[in-house]
């Protein structure tokens, strides 16, 4: 069971209560809700917020591929996975991503949650522009996608 969405922060909010509702089931004994938030210092610069950009269709496609891999590669078949990522500007302490997972046992839940966030960072076309206290801003370098 999978839920994925890109949340345009100008239009709506990202809510962990939606994630809790989606993964809640008496057949699962373990659940983890991971949230990524904007922190105040990055590489010794005082951050005030981040603007996220996204290629929505490709991001959603990558979420579906990652979900499928958790069945094929990690052999975690019976699970609920909720992934939402925002786009637009978020300030300090605000949430940029929620990954909620539920499955039968805790060892699977930790593996599943970690696998999803690490793969999103490697493969999902999402970009961050950091805004600093001195009013500068900068696109973060990121990891190139290998096409060849």
């Amino acid at each position: 069971m999978l839920h994925t969405r890109i949340i345009d922060i100008k239009i709506e909010k990202i809510k962990s209560s939606n994630a809790e509702d989606f993964i809640r089931s008496s057949k699962y004994g373990a659940s983890i809700i991971f949230t990524g938030t904007v922190r105040n210092i990055n590489e010794n610069k005082e951050v005030t917020g981040i603007t996220y950009d996204s290629h929505d269709e490709m991001v959603l496609k990558s979420f579906e591929e990652i979900y499928k891999e958790t069945g094929d590669k990690l052999d975690i078949k019976d699970k609920a996975v909720f992934i939402e990522h925002i786009k637009g500007y978020v300030g300090l302490g605000e949430t940029s991503i929620i990954i909620a997972v539920a499955c039968k046992h805790r060892d699977q839940a930790y593996v599943l949650s970690r696998y999803i966030i690490e793969e999103i960072k490697k493969r999902s076309p999402i970009w961050k522009k950091e805004h600093y206290k001195n009013e500068d801003s900068e696109w973060l370098k990121g990891n190139p996608i290998n096409a060849n």
Binding site: G36, Y52, D53, S54, H55, E57, M58, V59, K61, H85, S96, I97, I117, I120, K121, R123, S124, P125, I126, W127, K128, W139, L140, K141, G142, N143, P144, I145, N146, A147, N148
Partner: protein, 89 residues
């Protein structure tokens, strides 16, 4: 052929719009289209080496949202997305 290059991430600084239009020769490969983009940047942002570096390290995606290789041949008018190095979460 007319190509609409859709801009994402750091490449959004290449234009005030969310895309750049290019006229290119028929059957242009992505590796040659990459050179066209660099020429556009040299014309419009002369000394900005960082912009050229972004293009050199970017991937590209087709209209049907697949990453395409440097050997992919553009054979019709279409939208192509530029995918600079990524990092969300």
């Amino acid at each position: 052929m007319k190509i609409k290059l859709e801009l994402f991430g750091a490449s959004r600084d290449f234009s005030n719009k969310d895309h750049i239009e290019f006229q290119i020769k028929e059957k242009t490969e992505i590796k040659d289209f990459r050179k066209e983009i660099i020429s556009y940047l040299e014309k419009n942002f002369k000394d900005n080496e960082n912009f050229k570096k972004i293009v050199a390290t970017s991937a590209f995606c087709s209209e049907d949202n697949n990453i395409i290789s440097d050997n992919y041949i553009i054979s019709k008018d279409q939208k192509i997305g530029i995918i600079p190095p990524i990092g969300g979460g």
